[in-house]
Amino acid sequence: MSDNNFDKNSKKNVIQFSLMLSVICSLLITGAASGLKHLQQENIKLDKKANILKAANLIDGNNKPPKDEILRIYQTHIKEGLVNQEGQPVEIENDDVLHLYYYHTNNHIDGYILPIHTKGLWGKIQGYLAFENDGQTVSGFSVFSHAETPGLGGEIENAWFRKNFKGKKILNSQNKFVSVGIAKGKVKNLPKNLQDHYVDGISGATLTGQYLSEGIKSTLTKYEAVSIAFRQKRLKAMDK
């Protein structure tokens, strides 16, 4: 190292140095990534559960409870379900099967939660939309992940935006499926007959609102059979 003839610019050193640096950096990065992967995935799973509970209003969005409590509430109140395209519960998972979550208290189903997975402005938006067991009233909405602009589209994850979804209806007064969307501007400026089907938009984030509306609509259309089943009161009690 303290060799008088050490020339840091020699070809030999360039190659040696680059090789060493590359190897050390790669080892560090791969080591960290794979060593920590398990922990990271546990965190993601827990966060998904917390978001499902948030959508169902079983936990407070602003104060995330400790891990044990989240798991306990999830265990007690949430049941994961699989349905086919016609809304019939199935046991076997394959590509056509739809995932959803039922929330229940003592075997009585209070509602169901659908995973929303849509394109956003800058990336995918993932969240959960919860419904009451009447099959048409929204009871909550939570955002699990997104890549929207902080302060603008990123407001979709904030409580003020999400709580507006509560009470909105996906069926209009003629019992036609209209989904629920994000308005451009405030809902109170919309005609009265539309107000139940929109939430206030985020100023400066029209596109995020549009993408989210489209995503919700297409997801709800896919799951419409499930909602219909609830409307016809076929899924009030869980079969054991």
Partner: protein
Amino acid sequence: MSNESTQYKEILLKGIWHENPVAYQVLGICSALAVTVKMSTAIVMSLALTLVTGFSSMIISSMRNKIPSNIRIIAELAVIASMVIVTDEILKAFFYDISKQLSIFVGLIITNCIVLGRAEAFALANNPMDSFVDGIANGLGYSLVLIAVAFIRELLGAGEFLGYSVIPNVIYNAGYQNMGLMLLAPGAFFIIGLLVWLKNSLSGSNK
């Protein structure tokens, strides 16, 4: 020994105030705009950047006699990038909620001019301990500006301090409205501009 500590004190003062990276060197402005919407994001970002700058400057300085000149920048970037990626992985594993708040901004520390800037301007010509102090100092200077901007933006733009609503409803009812501009990038630009002006008038004739 006292020579060393006066030296550190000088380095610290330069980095935090006299040659503040954002206000004086005009570096790191981009992330100063993006993460200052809320104070909590700004604080975590400041911490991450300060540590990354400190340690990467220290590591690069310890290799300074071996890095070939023609791959200098790439080598520095390799060190900085690896460090940031490892930091990101650690955040995702142990501080998941914070990492979600910061999302892409942790990765963007790699592109923050302050980190590479200090490596080039200081670490290559000074010993590891001095470089570490310099890195931390510049990180602290950046933090100072970031937290000040975030404080103003969060207060004026959302009426909150660290997420808690601080403007009483009385004032809202009297007609006061949150300044939406503060939540957008232009608002950040204005605040940063005003802070740079303030800083330079305060320390103006010194340097």
